[in-house]
Structure formats: structure tokens, C-alpha cells
Symmetry: C2
Subunit: 474 residues, 2 copies
């Protein structure tokens, strides 16, 4: 036996300790020798591939096409849109090679380099709407400690950048892409989110407004999952994008940009994991099912054959046959549970006699004897049920986390208890800064779903009817 000690030494309830261990031990990602950068290992990258495949298919149906723009951005481009420049300046990485006489940044986001090109490509209303997306790496020179997936100097994402004739069309699609993100989070990642608008303070640097979907993690911190920015005409002005309208006059178009990144994988891990390790939703699982033959000498050959048969029957899924020697079945169970594979199928001597197998759900631990002839339909239904059930639990947990404080003391108490606060706030930048200073909490978003009842801002007492989500963040 070559068994080595595995397993996570902290319970899920100690999320700060549990989280990096769960990731590294499941071989989802690893720390790299480059400060602030991580390595996404195949078991983690496989999740990203599923996210990409799903979302890429969705946006292509909406008329978006993929392209690729340079990694480098001339410094002067950043400066063209003042708020954008100010927002990104502190975290830009620069290239040392520069015979150009101008500093080159590594893209933290690609508005500027893309819109310079757009200004060359867009001539008339016939060129609009223009809908382009890019799957790429971006760099933000974080100085805070690395947190796998959540805070790294480089991460992977998609960034969509569209141009429209009218404000209305732009606003409509800005919302549409956010709805796509909500679908992705809930139906694919199984993570409940709140859709809404960011406050003025939290909006994207250079945007007219920013929409977001926000998750709430078990340690009581909010996590921004994706954003969709209505850029108004700010960048069109800054980059000289104009089009000749049907009226034969020149007009400034309206733009949006929207993105989701590998940080969502961090949310998936925190949301669904348990003391045994990671739990991966079937829709993004690199491996859906592991088949473990229990070999003790008796019926070994028949068991192995049955395991291969099962793998073949389930060939529309990614099924791993773990026939490694030198490991006990129990050790294998632990390892695959730690890796979060949604289903495990065990086949032992008794199962051969009864012509059935044992199927174990990762999310609930439920065991079920299943006749071999029923395995295909059982596995299919079971994976669907796991997917739905993971979202349901996430929604339940979020619902339980939300509190509705009636006064400032209750706000403070709720935030201390790591709750998600929904209450009346005026949304002013000064007020938000005050809340952050006093409690350390920041706004998540102003949910689309508003009661609309007037009352007083829980911080400054000013009349308002706007409900805003507040919580601690990462």
C-alpha cells in the first residue's frame, strides 16, 4: 500500500483554513513561485472549460463574435477616459522594454485598446450594433495577499464590448448580458445570486452605471460574480468613435462591456464544499462519475469487466475508472470525495452476484443500489437532481443570511454576525464611505427587486426608498 495522508485538516466552518487546502489538495489549483500568481490545474481548468463552453454558446446565439486584442496598452490610451485612468492606475503592471518612447501597460481590462480599434472600424449605422467578445488573461497588480481564484495578479475572463446606435438598445442589452450571468451562476454553477445595480461608489471606472450579480459566501462575505457596465457615450467621446446615422449626420454611439472571470470557481468551491472537500456541480464537473471496482480476489475479473461496461454505458459523460492498485477502496473514496466528483459507483463481489452496483451522491452522501440495466437512466436523473438541489440549498442559505435591520444598531449587529444586510440606504458616496469606515462593510448592489416603500436611510437618516445590500467583502 502506498497510501499517503490526505484530507483537509480544517472543517468547512473554518473557511479561511479550509478553502486553500480544499483547492490545493483536490488539485484544482496551486500556488506558483511567482508572487500573486496561481496555477490552474486540469481539475480546475476543466471547470473553466465548461463555463466557457456554456457561456460562449449563449452569447454567440445573441450575435456576439469572438476576437483577440493585444495584451499591451499604450499609457496614453489609459489617460483618454479620466475616470477609467484614475480607477485602474494603482494596479497596472508595466513593460520594461519600451523603445516606443511610451510606456506599455499589460491589460487590466481592454476597453481602451478595443475602442481605439472600434473608432477605425465603425463608419456608419450599418456597422452597428457591433458585438465583440474576448476570452483572455488580464493582470491587476494586487498588493494584498493572494487568495486562490479570488485575488491573484493574473486571472482569466471573458470581456464583451458592444456598440449601439441608441441608449435604449444599449441599456436593454446591458441588462440582457447580466441576465445571462445570472443564469450561468444559478443554473450552471448552482450559486444563488442577487441581481442589481452597483452604487455610484462601486461602479466601474468610466461607466454610466454598473449592473452586477452578487453571491454571498458561507463566511458572511459578499462576492461579486459578474458585472455588466453601461458605458454611455463616455468612451465613444474619449476615443472618437462616431457613426454616420440614417440621417446622414455624425453621432456618438452607446457602449457596454461585461465580464465574468475564473474567480467564480472560487465561489463554487466555497458555496458547495463540505468537511470532506470540494463538491462540483455536475454541469461544470471535469469528471462526472468515478467507478471504483472493489477487488479482493473473488470475482476480480468479472468486477473489472462490469466496471468497464458501466464506463462504456455512460460514455456521454466523463467517467473515470479508478482501477489503480496499491490503494484501498476507502482511500479512493476519500480522494474522489475530496475532488468533488458528483457520483461514485462502487462494484464489489456482492454486486456482481446481484447484477447491480452502488451509486453514491457526493452532495448528500446518499447510497443507492441500482440494477445494472437501470444505470443510464438513474445516473442521468441523479445528476440532474444534484444540479438542482445544489442551487436550492444555495438559495436557502442566502435567504437565511439576509436580515432587514430597522436601525443603525441592528445594522452593526447584523454585520458583526456576518449577515447580508438589506435595508434603506441613500446611496450617496459619502454615506457609503461612512458605513465602510464604521463597519468595514461595503455595498453589494441595489437589487432590481425593490419594495419601493419610503423611509429613512439607516446611516444618515435621509428620506429614501432605495434598498441596498451591504456586507463584508473579500
Amino acid at each position: 500500500m502506498v497510501e499517503k495522508a490526505i484530507g483537509i485538516t480544517a472543517p468547512k466552518s473554518r473557511l479561511d483554513e479550509w478553502y486553500p487546502q480544499a483547492i490545493v489538495k483536490a488539485e484544482i489549483a496551486d500556488y506558483s513561485p511567482v508572487k500573486g500568481c496561481m496555477v490552474i490545474r486540469p481539475h480546475g481548468y476543466g471547470m473553466w472549460e465548461h463555463i466557457q463552453q456554456y457561456f460562449d454558446g449563449r452569447i454567440k446565439k445573441l450575435g456576439v463574435k469572438n476576437a483577440y486584442f493585444p495584451l499591451f496598452i499604450p499609457e496614453s490610451f489609459f489617460k483618454k477616459e479620466a475616470q477609467h485612468a484614475e480607477g485602474f492606475a494603482p494596479e497596472v503592471a508595466w513593460i520594461a522594454n519600451s523603445e516606443e518612447g511610451e510606456r506599455l501597460a499589460i491589460r487590466p481590462t481592454s476597453e481602451t485598446i478595443m475602442y481605439d480599434m472600434y473608432s477605425r472600424w465603425i463608419r456608419s449605422y450599418r456597422d452597428l450594433p457591433l458585438r465583440i467578445n474576448q476570452w483572455a488573461n488580464v493582470v491587476r497588480w494586487e498588493t494584498k495577499a493572494t487568495k486562490l481564484f479570488l485575488r491573484t495578479r493574473e486571472f482569466l475572463w471573458q470581456e464583451g464590448h458592444c456598440v449601439y446606435e441608441t441608449d435604449e438598445e444599449c441599456a436593454k442589452e446591458t441588462r440582457l448580458y447580466l441576465e445571462e450571468y445570472q443564469k450561468l451562476c444559478e443554473e450552471v454553477l448552482g450559486v444563488a445570486v442577487i441581481a442589481g445595480r452597483k452604487t455610484e461608489h462601486e461602479k466601474f471606472a468610466g461607466a454610466k452605471y454598473t449592473l452586477s450579480v452578487e453571491a454571498f459566501m458561507p463566511d458572511g462575505k459578499g462576492l461579486q460574480m459578474a458585472t455588466s457596465h453601461h458605458l454611455g457615450q463616455n468612451f465613444a467621446k474619449a476615443f472618437g468613435i462616431s457613426y454616420l446615422g440614417k440621417d446622414e449626420e455624425a453621432h456618438l454611439p452607446y457602449q457596454n462591456s461585461w465580464g465574468i472571470s475564473t474567480r467564480t470557481i472560487g465561489a463554487v468551491i466555497m458555496e458547495h464544499g463540505d468537511d470532506k472537500g470540494v463538491v462540483i456541480p455536475p454541469a461544470i464537473a471535469p469528471i462526472h462519475c468515478v467507478v471504483i471496482p472493489i477487488l479482493f480476489g473473488k470475482h476480480d475479473e468479472a468486477i473489472l469487466q462490469k466496471a468497464k461496461d458501466i464506463q462504456k454505458k455512460l460514455k456521454w459523460l466523463q467517467v473515470e475508472l479508478d482501477d489503480r492498485k496499491g490503494y484501498t477502496p476507502g482511500w479512493k473514496y476519500n480522494e474522489w470525495e475530496m475532488k468533488g466528483v458528483p457520483l461514485r459507483i462502487e462494484i464489489g463481489p456482492k454486486d456482481i452476484e446481484k447484477n447491480c452496483v452502488v451509486v453514491i451522491r457526493r452532495d448528500t452522501g446518499e447510497k443507492q443500489d441500482v440494477a445494472c440495466k437501470d444505470i443510464v437512466s438513474y445516473v442521468k436523473a441523479c445528476l440532474e437532481d444534484i444540479q438542482k438541489s445544489m442551487l436550492r440549498k444555495s438559495k436557502e442559505r442566502m435567504a437565511k443570511s439576509i436580515v432587514h435591520p430597522q436601525n443603525w444598531e441592528e445594522v452593526v449587529k447584523a454585520l458583526d454576525e456576518r449577515k447580508l444586510v438589506l435595508g434603506l440606504f441613500c446611496g450617496k458616496i459619502e454615506c457609503e464611505a461612512g458605513i465602510k469606515e464604521k463597519t468595514g462593510a461595503t455595498s453589494r448592489n441595489i437589487p432590481f427587486d425593490q419594495k419601493g416603500q419610503a423611509g429613512k436611510c439607516l446611516h444618515c437618516g435621509k428620506e429614501t426608498s432605495t434598498e441596498i445590500y451591504f456586507s463584508k467583502g473579500y
Copy 2:
């Protein structure tokens, strides 16, 4: 009418002028404001997506898994393998932010950063073979003039990096991945290639040997399409990768790396284009077929309806319906021909009466009346025929380009005439340098397919039986 002058102002025979125009006017790519960097537009990126999808599927079947490693590489890593460091030093881009006390490079290739991680992950023979691939951007700080797709400071590629217990296994798979590249070039890109081994002078910095597939462009220059490097134990030694064998002893493993990049799109364009513009092989065409309704008032509605029916019938393909107003059919034909769409379907009033359409092949210009009921099978067969025919022509052109000189004068003459020289060369580094100095030509590779007849090196006269391909390069 809003027609603007389009069309390429140089014939294909003036490739240097034709090539950038063909790319930019077909909206495949564009020059960017960042020196040395290009933008890959949707019509070009769509080709890359097809290449990715095809090749990713192939290597996954061979047990390769995707992952993602940091963009940044510490300077000390480069220095660990001496030849590798020397080979890449001149073209590395460096990061200016460096509180780490160590310079960080932007990856020109990822051997070093990946193998540092491998040294942590690989413990025993049970961890081997390890087969990891990465789809990524890489940066090489070119100082020569930009050539779209062929010479840019940033390009996209895949890099596979595998680790094996034995030299034989490593050698076998190094060859296997090269064969996959040959299949990709020929069957997907329709570009004939020569498979062989690079000379000592041309091998990858740090490799034991390098295998390559080489194309030959219509302007008489060789173009390296892909390489597969057997790294021996060089990097394992440099990065301290070792594994505990079945014999309970520590061993150094063997490694290979292999890659193909967006430069292949440049080859596709040069290989297949004609005076009218680009010709895209169906297997990587972002648009397979454009349907152009010819609207002159009579039967307009019926024609448009028929066009939509055809699009629906061909929904397994990417079919564009060009019903834009303000452009003549002739103008549209030119535009889609320039963009290289494999098939055009015209529907006019007469076709409606006969219940047929006209199908035009981009590669040959052949026109064919096709009954509407036969359109699906006709298009399917036609696309297959185009794909095969493009490769056949490429093979014929390559065969005609090869000359077999018998003495040095004939070598010089053949290279002057921009031919692909196949002849006996000793393969020594000094001899290769001499040939380059005298003729400007460089070796392509030593083809696997060797006659094996002894004779004299065409340059130095030394006894040899090795045939090597030589030509001008990019």
C-alpha cells in the same frame, strides 16, 4: 448605393503587397496601435476557434488535459537550462513592477514555469505519464518589421508539455504529436507539409531534438507550421524533476513539448488565396456559405423567403444571409469572395421560377444550378470536395517546387529561383552557417522520408547520406 471601393490592388503573384491587403480587407486581422502587435478580428479568430476545437479534441483523446500557468516567469528560472536561456534571452519582454527583487519575464514559452511546478507534483511512477497542454498568449519581443500572423510580438498558441518514465515512450509520443500536427495542416488547413527533424542548428533551445512540419509558400519561402521537441532529461535535471520508480529508486524522467500557433492562419491565407482575396478551407471557415438574394422588385418576397428556407435547411453550417440593402449583388459577390467564404448561393427571379438556386465555389469559381430539393446533399458534397481539392492543389504546388540539385551551382540557382531544395547535406552547424551566409537560405528539416543513398554534401563535399530541405524563410 453606399458602395465603397474595395478589392485588393495587387495580384496574388506580388505576395508581399497582396498578403497584408488580403488580410486587412477581409477583416481577418488588423494592425494595432501597439508596435508589433496585431488584432485578430472575428473573421480571423473564427478560424482559430475551429483549429482549437479540432486539435483540442484530438489531444484530449490522447489523454492530454488542459491547464493554465502564470504569464510571468522569474528570471532565475530562465537561467536554469543554459541553452534555453541563451536561445530566448534576446527576445524576452520584462515587467517593470518588481518589488520581488527579481525581474519577471512575460512568457515566450512556458517550459520553465511549468517544469518548476512539475517538480513539485511528480513523486512516483504512478504520476507518469503526465500530459498537460495550455492554450495561451506568448510574447517574443521581435525587432524586425511586423508581418501579420507570421511575425508579431504577441501570438496565440497551444503548448503541450508531457513527462514520461522512458526515453522510448517520450520519443514515440513526440512523433505522435507531430503526426497530429501533420493531420491538422493537411486535412484541416489544406496545407501540404514536410515532416522531419530539425538540424542541430535549428532545434529548440534546450531540446535533444526537434521535429517539425514545414510548409512552402507561393513566394518561395519555407514556413514552419508546428514543432514537437524531445527534451531528453535536460529540463528534468535543470528543474529537479525526479520520480520514484517501481524499483524504489529515484529517476530522471523524459519530457517533450509541442506547439502550434496562430501563424498557421498566415500560411492558410498565403497558400490558398487568389487575386480576388482569401480562400478559406471549409473545415476552418467561420462562415461556410453566404446566401445572396437578388432583389430587383420582381418576386422579391418569394426570393427572400427562399433564401431563408435555404439558410434553415443548412442550419448545421454557418450560413450568412446577406440581405443588406444599398449594395448591388455584384458588390456583395466581390466582398464575400474577398473574405474567402467557400460557397455562395445566389437566388434570383429566374431561380424562383425553376425552383432552383445557383451555387458558386470560391476555390474554382465553378457555377452550378442546383434544385432546391437537392441543396443539402449538394452543399455537403461540395464542401467536402473543396476541402480535398485545396489540399491536392497544395500538394501539387509543393511537389513542383522541389528541386534536387546535383552540385553547388544548381543549389544556388534553385534558391535564386525560390525553389525548395532537397539534397545531400552533412547537417553540421558550420556547413549550415556557410550555406546561409552564401545564399540566405536556411534548412527546413531533415525529412523522415529518406532515400538513404550515400553521396557528397552539396556544400562541403563530405560523405553523407542525409537529405535536407533548404529554402529561404520568413
